[in-house]
Amino acid sequence: MIVEKTSYKLKEWLEDKLSTRLTPLLDSLNLISGFSIENDNNEYYTSREFLNQVKESYKFKNTKFLTSNLNSKLRTTKGLPIEAREKFLNVISDFIDENTQFKKHFCQTTGAMIYPKNGYMGWHNNSKTGWRLYCTYCAEEAKSYFRYEDGDGRLVDSEERQGWNFRLFFIRDNLTPLWHSIYTESERVALGTYLGRDLAKIQDIIGDKQ
């Protein structure tokens, strides 16, 4: 199986549909609370220089930057309460069940967290191989991006706007990681959902590359 190292949008009309469902839930949970940290060169953790350090360390089985699940140890996030995770998963997995060939019960939350203003997550890959639907909410219009390294070794910024942002990408096995990182100057909610491996099952929702 060959899967490109890239990120895709949701089809536009589906973005509207999912936003409409997630917004009331987000509002009811009161998750946006002015969470902020100092900006002490925080964007460094999404830089090429840091990526090279992470790669070198990973190559030699060093665990300075990555956990055994290839999550980043360099992060400023806080996990969402379990109740919030479950409610979001319920909405997202209903959406997946209705619009793709993946089943609701296969969907799993792989991350549900809040980033502070000036927050980041350093370069990492994650571990569960397969498609992710990644839903993020930026509280304000500010610099915020998902940065990944494509198949040609270029760094690509998938920028985010105020409100909901959606993308689909494939987490690869750790032979050929999809290295990615996040930086945001807006308080930001991030919800990662594992869908499965089969590209054919999400053909109806997959939009343009971003």
């Binding site: 199986m1 060959i2 089985k61 060093n62 665990t63 055994s68 750790n174 050929t176 089969d198």
Partner: protein, 216 residues
């Protein structure tokens, strides 16, 4: 007192499993061409699977301050109904034996979901630290004679590779306690299914009397 070396042991008295093996074997035939279930990403150009099983690599793992990621290339079948059904059926066939109160295997405590291997799938050297001190019983059905179990024999300080036979294979091992480790991995060049059972923690006498055969 039985001496237990850090490594793999052949299982004896596997006739107990012959009916289950026959039933599971028949089901494997009904799955058809197993290549249709291979959903792994392509192996990157120039990647050498064997490089994951070297002493140099093992030393890097040992030297790391925490547990590093296990390098692996594996299929999943959570979206594939025939394999989901097969996993359930085959596991239940074997568990019947492990769950018999009068069976030598009745000490089994837990079971791990079936693994499916396709060509060039592998699990790099890893330490199953969460099962320290437990005996593990493995059953592997291999389509060909190219499924390798690779492990570190601390007493010989070497990486040992045991190639399983086509058909069903049974082997077991004890994960060391304390700060000791038994690093192990697997690689497959064709197709295989694997079932793993945790036999128990304080059952050495029982296992050495009834199940454990020669060191592989």
């Amino acid at each position: 007192m039985h001496i237990i070396f850090p490594g793999m042991y052949r299982a004896i008295n596997t006739d107990t499993f012959s009916t289950a093996e026959s039933n599971v074997g028949s089901q494997i035939k009904t799955l058809g061409d197993l290549s249709q279930y291979d959903n792994c990403l392509a192996v990157p150009d120039g990647f050498d699977i064997n490089s994951e099983f070297t002493m140099e690599n093992l030393q890097a793992i040992i030297n790391s301050e925490e547990t590093p990621a296990t390098i692996k290339r594996m299929c999943t079948y959570s979206e594939n109904q025939p394999l989901i059904d097969f996993a359930e059926y085959s596991s239940s066939q074997f568990l019947k034996i492990f769950n018999r109160s009068r069976s030598p295997y009745s000490c089994a405590q837990s079971f791990h979901k079936m693994n499916f291997y396709a060509p060039d799938t592998f699990v790099g050297l890893e330490d199953l630290a969460h099962f320290k001190n437990a005996w593990i019983y493995n059953i592997v059905w291999a389509s060909s004679d190219d499924f390798d179990v690779v492990f570190h024999e601390i007493d010989n300080n070497s990486i040992k590779t045991v190639t399983l036979n086509p058909g069903f294979n049974h082997y077991l091992y004890k994960l060391p306690s304390g700060g000791n480790t038994l690093y192990q991995g697997k690689k497959c060049a064709s197709y295989a299914f694997e079932w793993r059972f945790v036999l128990g923690y304080d059952v050495c006498y029982y296992i050495c009397q009834n199940i454990r055969g020669q060191r592989l």
